[in-house]
Symmetry: C2
Subunit: 543 residues, 2 copies
């Protein structure tokens, strides 16, 4: 197995500092690719550098400069926590088809009765004390590693749609080509921080082999952090094994380099597929994201406080199980509240109840001291239209307001997660850009307060040409790539386009201009060998 | 002049309580119209009652159940306040073309030098102590009076567009028919609380007579609170005179029944047109809304903290002037921050800087103890598309998060306020509905926590038919009238409509089904006489 990333990290420290070029290259790729570029000479290197720069590397993640939005009183938070404790103690959670999980619970002192596990008050909180409040998920490009916890905010694409959609071809099943396209679009955006996981289901690849092609696409077409498979224990193991090829055995043993997103089978059931995957990630010291999906009135009560209490109970149990598998393993407190239309019984997404509920979930996660995944850019709209961005914007703002550290479903989510939309993807990524500015808050210092500018300009005059404006305008305002701020006349003369039409042009241009980040050839070969062997070892399965 | 509303209020107290019917009627109209309905017999009354109920009366205003979102530290708030104080003391504000305003300032102890007024630190804050922290604006239907201040939130339509727009006819200049249509649409929505002011400019009516037709339309086609003209002192006086016809002289003298929205000529200039109007409202004990419009980089610095300090200085001066005109007059601390595109120089609306800046403005207004108008549903989009609702939703959420009590521009705003959109109006009103649910927050009590439901359902089962779901589902979730939550297949079979197309159908239906609220005939006659006389007294003017 190739030594990869860990060796790179070690060697980097001993390399002579050969000047500015190396520093730039280290930011843009691995040392070995940087070395290759130096060999190919200055002109090519400069061109590549420009291309990387034109793609806008942005920040690796956001460090928020505004506090989270706390909406609930201490007294009411305690009541929700007490309800979660009583659900855990009096009703319990079933752990199905995973004998080892039951063994863990028995040893930890939980009451195990068949597959039903009940937890004395305080037990889970005690177990959770070993979980880190914050951790780094490393990217193969170290400049793009992300911190998950504390004041960090990481935007990751939507996850899990069987369909994809664009304005030209409408809705259709996703393929591995679509999957790669979305990885490339995410990589091209300076406003996303993470490559995500199952961005769409590549239904043209056998079910038992998809994870290999998906993980490979994340590694090959992106240099950001990514997620692996959780749909079976061996697929989780394969995903982690591929991460080891990239980052090295030792580095992976000691650092988080891959995430696995596992769902509770709400209400109050953890099934074996999920706990086996969860334990595989924890065992490898990798981070599981623990996510109850609660559709109020179906998998939980129709009342928000009850659904939140249930979510807290289910998440605490899942997070604690990672610590029983391996104390100290990173884990993310996750959550997916949703509502439903009581006229039609359809699930609804991006509605006000989950949005405001997210704030409470955030408060509860902070009281537990765990990194938070919460909310995202949700909608039931079938088009990238006003409906989509009304719901999506409220929902996405809930995610950043509630203090979420890892925001899955930041871009592309349409039709209640049944479709990934090419147009909405670039609209949402653009909104993620606006949120960088938003989360910077209002900075207060002498330059920002601009008292000298008032002295210069005085009453009744304009600030256009003032020294303060000239000194600050370049960094002054968020500049959207989707909004049209031209005059009506200019906009009309240019064809009266709506935002979806502009977004359509934008994703096509991004794909046309996409440049793959450098990947060490030896790592690439090792990954391809691993995949070929795995594919040859098993017949295709479509379930 | 007709005794109108005040007499109604006095008489009401002496009326015998004749049972449930009267209570319902009082909620739906004035006592005299209720009496007329009783005379016409039960069947008509019941039909009218149903119609009112099908229009959904909603709540008169929102009492928020979540706190405002405070993003800035005490230390930084103080720095902004100190900067505002230094702007006021060292640079000053010009008050042009209003000798009486300068007289007020002299008497109050400000330093007046020509039209430039400078204010010693603390002077304006002292003057502002007489301004009420909260007040009631009365509607002619007392069930629709609104509280402005404290935890109240009042949604009012957009204000001031020369153009209107709909999907059928595109963009065109607004007419008095459009104006009436928007008053009717606002009246039909259960999610708006206020009829607004210059919803669009009725350009088919002479400039010097528009205010008469606009104020009449608010009174005739709505029974909610409304705003009057500010474009000239006599137009402000006319607006207030018309309010007196409706509410009575004495009642109007003692209560707020009309608002006037006045703008600072930023930076640091109050022109006479605005201060004369401002003083006219204050003199009549009616509320002025004091609003600097600051486009960062043009009428203020490009940096947010400086623009906020300027806004605070300008607003404090305007608010204080109302108190010098009449101590104790209601006044609203207003604000309109915006940014611009530094590529094109175009103004931008609904961007992240003003959104996050609104939170700080809210903190500053609360420290002054004044009711707040801030933000709204802003966008530069020329269509009711994804761009419009992305910017509009972020901006509108900023308004409710920052603690704004009176939210002008809650519905219809398009193209940087150059157009009122019929479709966006109903979309935005629908979003105002969602915000009712959102601002209710997460309620915590035994029913909401639903512990019994978990006992009933247990692990792995569904909550669909549980006793708790059956008892709560009717009030459980926000039910949007614009979102399409159906399956893709059902949506496709129904014509694959986008949200704008659904909104187009919805405003047409609302206008077709619109029923004017009852208006006392004597009041109507008196208003029409007043208008006829005013129109006859002056030749038409188009400037």
């Amino acid at each position: 197995m190739h030594s990869g990333f860990a060796d790179y990290c070690c060697r980097k420290r001993t390399l002579p500092q050969t000047g500015k070029g190396l520093v730039m290259d280290v930011a843009a790729g691995t040392e070995s690719s940087a070395a290759r570029r130096r060999e190919r000479g200055g002109r090519t290197a400069r061109r590549e550098q420009r291309e990387h720069s034109s793609q806008g590397l942005g920040r690796p993640y956001i460090v928020r400069n505004i506090p989270a939005y706390d909406v609930l009183s201490e007294e009411n938070l305690v009541r929700i926590e007490e309800t979660a404790d009583r659900i855990l103690e009096e009703i319990g959670i079933e752990f199905r088809d995973d004998a080892q999980a039951l063994e863990h619970w028995k040893r930890a002192g939980a009451r195990v009765d068949g597959v039903l596990v009940r937890f004395e008050k305080g037990l889970l909180r005690d177990i959770l004390k070993t979980a880190p409040a914050s951790f780094t998920q490393h990217a193969r490009n170290p400049a793009r590693s992300v911190e998950i916890g504390g004041r960090s905010v990481v935007f990751s694409p939507a996850y899990g749609s069987p369909f994809v959609m664009d304005l030209d071809r409408g809705r259709r099943y996703g393929t591995i080509e679509d999957f790669r396209n979305f990885v490339k679009l995410a990589q091209s955006s300076p406003w996303l921080h993470h490559s995500g996981g199952t961005i769409c289901e590549p239904v043209d690849v056998p079910v038992n082999k998809r994870h290999l092609d998906m993980v490979y696409a994340h590694i090959r077409y992106s240099d950001r952090a990514f997620m692996g498979s959780v749909t079976a224990e061996d697929r989780a193991e394969d995903s982690i094994a591929m991460a080891r090829i990239v980052f090295g055995e030792r580095f992976t043993e000691e650092n988080c380099v891959i995430l696995g997103n596992v769902n509770v089978n709400s209400p109050l059931v953890w099934d074996g597929t999920m706990t086996l995957a969860l334990r595989a990630y924890a065992r490898a010291n990798q981070a599981a994201v623990i996510v109850p999906f609660i559709l109020g009135g179906a998998m939980g009560p129709v009342t928000n406080a009850g659904a939140i209490a249930q979510s807290l109970a289910e998440t605490m149990a899942g997070c604690a199980l990672t610590q029983l598998e391996r104390p100290g393993a990173p884990v993310i407190f996750g959550n997916f509240l949703s509502s439903m239309s009581l006229r039609s019984g359809s699930p609804t997404f991006g509605t006000p109840e989950p949005a405001i509920g997210s704030m409470v979930v955030g408060q509860l996660a902070r009281r537990l001291g765990l990194p938070l995944r919460c909310s995202g850019n949700f909608t039931t709209s079938k088009l990238p239209d006003a409906h989509a961005m009304n719901e999506g914007t409220m929902s996405m703002l809930a995610a950043v307001h509630c203090g979420a550290n890892f925001i899955l479903h930041s871009a592309g989510f349409l039709d209640g997660l049944l479709s990934m939309s090419y147009e909405k993807f670039v609209m949402d990524a653009d909104f993620c850009g606006a949120l960088h500015t938003y989360l910077d808050g209002v900075k207060v210092d002498d330059n920002q307060l601009a008292l000298d500018a008032f002295r210069e300009v005085g009453p009744g005059n304009h600030f256009f040409g003032s020294a303060h404006t000239l000194a600050n305008y370049e960094t002054a305002f968020w500049d959207s790539g989707i909004a049209d701020n031209d005059s009506f006349e200019k906009w009309e003369a240019a064809g009266s386009e709506d935002a979806a039409t502009r977004a359509n042009r934008r994703w096509k241009r991004a794909l046309a201009e996409y440049q793959p980040p450098p990947l060490d050839e030896a790592i690439d070969d090792a990954l391809q060998d691993f995949i070929a062997k795995k594919k040859a070892d098993a017949p295709d399965a479509w379930y």
